[in-house]
């Protein structure tokens, strides 16, 4: 390091001292709630899920079919009005086998998050999880199909698709 900076400043605290409150600290827990409007495009996408359909959009200029849908094409920067019903099948674009939950607690049974490239799109897809599968049998390119929640239990949420499961190839 620079000749001017032999001993960098800063006092590290030991984690044990902090947890045992041997170091003075002030606690604060924010209480905030949000209610997000879904917007035009995602609203229509979620309504589609409630009806058991995956909805995408197509740009009339670059012809790209994408999901999740949007009301504009970010490439062409034009409005998009063409809504496309897509199949509930696709391939695994990439996946992971996660042994940690949202709050980093350890899981005995791993979750398998994956990006699913939906059939009929221009290599577009969304994040979801894989079920009914052994992690070691999965690879990029594995064909998958959506497993839907019962129609009465669907409420217009991404979790209306419970998970994607490996599927047979049907041309």
């Amino acid at each position: 390091m620079s000749k001017h900076l032999q001993k960098p400043p800063g006092v590290p605290l030991r984690e044990e001292d902090f947890e045992a409150q041997r170091v003075l600290s002030v606690m604060y827990r924010p209480k905030m709630r949000y209610s997000w409007a879904t917007g035009v495009a995602i609203g229509r996408f979620l309504k589609g899920l409630r009806e058991g359909k995956i909805i995408g959009t197509q740009c009339t200029h670059c012809r790209r079919i994408v999901v999740p849908p949007r009301v504009f094409c970010e490439w062409c920067f034009r409005p998009v009005n063409d809504w496309v019903d897509l199949p509930d099948t696709g391939i695994i674009n990439t996946f992971s086998v996660s042994y940690i939950s949202t709050d980093t607690t350890r899981l005995k049974t791993p979750i398998i998050p994956a990006v699913i490239e939906i059939d009929g799109t221009t290599h577009a897809g969304f994040l979801h999880v894989i079920g009914e599968a052994k992690p070691e049998t999965l690879k990029i390119g594995t064909r998958v199909k959506a497993v839907w929640a019962e129609s009465t239990k669907r409420r217009g949420s991404i979790t209306d698709i419970r998970y994607f499961k490996p599927a047979e190839w049907k041309p």
Binding site: R70, T102, I158
Partner: protein, 409 residues
């Protein structure tokens, strides 16, 4: 795939046009640098950390705060600190009282971007000097700052799935590994190298000798990401003093020049991209190289400090920075090319994996390293052979921004 689409190529050429249109009035030099220790939990507040780093930077070039005309600050989300308007909160410690001051934030890319932000203050001719400060105190957020990170996932269609921050890295790493059939051993080699390099860094938080087996046997978090593939949570601050050419020559005999800057963002619809290659980093690198007159980065760049929050990211970014062919970085690392005494030293500082990862400060730490290396002041970490040209890069947001700076000694 997408890159083959002529429409996409048309749009990606914009970065070259942007460079051609640049009206740069002054050449900008780095004349001083300072940094605190990087640590898991600092006693100091963010303001105090910023103050210490600034004081070190000013002392290193014998300048006073009165000599500073403007201040550019970089710091990551307010949610880490639980303090809104963090830029304003940090103002006094950053030496910005009564000065033109602003804060920039582009996720993990902030550290290097804050230098670009300050560079523009001087390059435009508006100011002769600018102080660049990057501060991060992540430890305040309980139980773990990754909870604050989680809100980067889409609030409508991703967060209900209960994602974890590590997922996106695991997904990107998997795509990268499977595209080029990269064995995990070659990737783990980066963690071994960087943690070892950091042993020579006085500010380092988790410098240690680990073996390849240690990395491969460490706990699996989200396959293929394991415990030792990840950089730690850190508190720390860095500061840099910038000056225009005429002023810099009065301050020091050995200024380090910022000859090229570039930044570029890809879409937030990250599931619509192919994650195997960071094309936004390549766009940013092309912009910076064009500005710096670097025609062949593989030959002209003497060493690099790419962003390495995870070990595979260093490799991913070497490819994005066009320092090797696509998919070639793991091989070069395994061959020892990227060691400190190799042909292309990469992360000679020890990087985020060794020195630590206080988000914004980690990026500016890379600029500090370029400054010290190019001046021959890096001590035990000094790269042999008098390096002249180097590149630093940071990355962030939703895996979508590349910030690149080319510097010459």
């Amino acid at each position: 795939m997408l890159e083959g689409n002529p429409h996409y190529q048309r749009r990606s050429r914009h970065s070259k046009q942007q460079v051609r249109n640049l009206q740069i009035k002054k050449r900008v030099a780095v004349v001083g640098a300072g940094m605190t220790k990087f640590m898991r939990r600092a006693q100091e507040t963010g303001k105090e950390l910023a103050f210490e780093a600034v004081r070190q930077a000013l002392d290193s070039c014998n300048m006073r705060i009165e000599d500073i005309q403007s201040v550019a600050l970089g710091s990551a989300p307010d949610a880490f600190d639980g303090v809104h308007m963090k830029g304003e909160y940090l103002l006094d410690g950053a030496g910005a009282w009564g000065k033109p001051y602003s804060r920039s934030f582009v996720g993990g890319g902030t550290g290097v971007f804050s230098l670009i932000h300050g560079w523009w203050h001087v390059a435009s001719g508006l100011f002769d000097t600018c102080l660049v400060v990057a501060e991060e105190k992540m430890s305040s957020c309980l139980p773990h700052p990754q909870t604050a990170f989680l809100t980067i996932f889409d609030n409508m269609i991703e967060r209900p799935l209960g994602p974890n921050l590590i997922w996106i890295f695991a997904l990107e790493m998997q795509r990268y590994m499977q595209t080029y059939k990269i064995p995990k051993e070659q990737i783990a080699q980066v963690a071994v190298k960087n943690k070892r390099n950091a042993l020579d860094h006085p500010s380092a938080q988790i410098a240690q000798k680990v073996t390849l087996q240690d990395v491969l046997n460490s706990e699996v978090m989200a396959y293929p990401v394991q415990r030792l593939d990840i950089s730690p949570v850190s508190d720390g601050a860095c500061a840099i003093v910038l000056a225009s050419e005429d002023v810099a020559r009065k301050i020091t005999d050995s200024p380090v020049w910022i000859d090229g800057v570039g930044w570029n963002l890809d879409t937030t619809y990250w599931t619509n991209r192919d994650l195997y290659f960071p094309r936004y980093v390549a766009n940013a690198a092309r912009m910076a190289y064009a500005m710096a007159g670097v025609r062949n980065p593989r030959k002209e760049i003497d060493f690099a400090e790419p962003y390495d929050p995870f070990d595979y990211k260093e490799l991913h970014h070497m490819e994005g920075l066009l320092l090797c062919r696509k998919g070639e970085a793991p091989k070069l690392t395994a061959e020892g090319v990227t060691e400190r005494d190799g042909k292309l030293p990469v992360c000679p500082s020890g990087g985020l994996l060794g020195v630590g990862n206080p988000i914004a400060a980690a990026g500016l730490m890379k600029i500090c390293e370029l400054f010290w290396q190019l001046r021959g002041e890096a001590g035990k970490r000094q790269i042999p052979g008098d390096p002249r040209t180097a590149v630093a890069q940071a990355w962030g947001d939703l895996m979508q921004i590349g910030t690149v700076v080319v510097m010459r000694g």
